[in-house]
């Protein structure tokens, strides 16, 4: 099958990539990570081998862009004695997913990533292991631990209760 128009790729895989970006870098930086992911993908798209797993390809790019963002944010961070009060970084007040992003952001990195890749992006553990390192079994355990932790810390959006 020939390459689809890129607009179709954006429409089909855009939501998954956005979920991955939100889970890895949080809702605020997610837009930038998403945009950089799709711009990089658009640049490389004409050379993508036919029959490629487009979603796994995009998630790989998204992970790289998200890591770049986390590194950039870490470089910008300046230690202070007393953290200032800052506006919410977990979405708009009343936005139903805000608490979930906060709970996700509180997970250790490996758990957060494996939960994002498996439960939000729908990747199998073998592919996740290739992305985050370690064995598929370790990825499965990290995701299970992450979900168990979320069950303890996240009480659900108001209309899920």
């Amino acid at each position: 099958m020939p390459l689809e128009p890129f607009e179709a790729v954006v429409r089909r895989h855009g939501p998954t990539v956005l979920r991955v970006c939100r889970a890895v870098v949080g809702p605020d930086a997610a837009d930038d990570a998403w945009s950089e992911t799709f711009l990089a993908a658009l640049r490389a798209y004409p050379a993508l081998p036919l029959g490629s797993d487009v979603e796994a390809w995009l998630v790989t790019i998204a992970r790289r862009k998200a890591v770049d963002q986390l590194r950039a944010a870490a470089r910008r961070a300046v230690p202070v004695a007393e953290p200032p009060e800052v506006p919410s970084t977990t979405g708009l007040p009343g936005e139903r997913d805000g608490e979930l992003w906060a709970a996700l952001a509180g997970l250790p990195e490996k758990q957060r990533q494996t939960v994002a890749y498996h439960h939000l992006a729908g990747l199998p553990y073998a592919e996740i292991a290739a992305l985050v390192g370690g064995t598929p079994e370790a990825a499965r355990r990290a995701a299970a631990d992450g979900i168990a932790a979320l069950r303890r810390t996240y009480r659900g959006a108001p209309d899920d209760r």
């Binding site: 128009p5 607009e7 939501p15 799709f38």
Partner: protein, 187 residues
């Protein structure tokens, strides 16, 4: 999520254009002859398509023949949309747009060039057009050139009719041809 995606996709289209990666921009516009798909390369308007041609299939063919870097990016089509709206309102008689004729070659392209000389509100026969293109016996080939016109409405193949006065076929359907000719006769 849908609103987020629309906003992000629009932002991506702008960034792609700035980065020189927007090989084919497209949008759709509602008209009295149904929704028209408009597509443009950096050189100009490259495709106008009726709904009957199946817009998804047309976009796939643009991806195959020009580049798969195809995005919904209305900004590049703003002048074309504005001029089409003026045309359908009876306020425009000629289109002043850069055209990219790469989807048409050889004799068909010659016919398209001749077509642009058939003025607003007038008609020409397939036979007359064949003669004008230098091949008086190529009447059938003129018909094919019109049927495969990548830029209907803007390149006015709707002004080509049969020598016996019948409307003849049209890429957008005979009803659309009648609508365009009535519009031009009334204005």
């Amino acid at each position: 999520m849908t609103a987020d995606l629309d906003r992000l996709a629009a932002r991506l289209a702008r960034a792609a254009d700035d980065a020189g990666l927007l090989d084919v921009a497209f949008t759709t516009v509602d008209t009295p002859v149904g929704p028209l798909l408009l597509a443009a390369t950096g050189q100009g308007l490259v495709r106008v398509a009726y709904a009957a041609e199946d817009h998804d299939a047309v976009l796939q063919s643009l991806a195959d023949r020009i580049s798969p870097r195809v995005l919904r990016a209305p900004a590049r089509l703003d002048p074309a949309v504005r001029q089409l709206e003026e045309y359908f309102a009876g306020r425009r008689r000629a289109f002043d747009l850069p055209l990219d004729l790469r989807l048409s070659a050889g004799f068909r392209r010659d016919v398209l060039t001749r077509l642009r000389e058939v003025g607003y509100g007038r008609t020409a026969s397939y036979a007359a057009l064949a003669a004008a293109a230098g091949s008086p016996r190529a009447v059938r080939a003129v018909g094919t050139a019109c049927a495969t016109n990548p830029l209907p409405v803007v390149v006015p193949c709707h002004r080509v009719v049969r020598s016996d006065g019948a409307l003849g076929d049209y890429v957008g359907g005979v009803a659309a041809k009648r609508t365009l000719l009535s519009l031009e006769a009334a204005a």
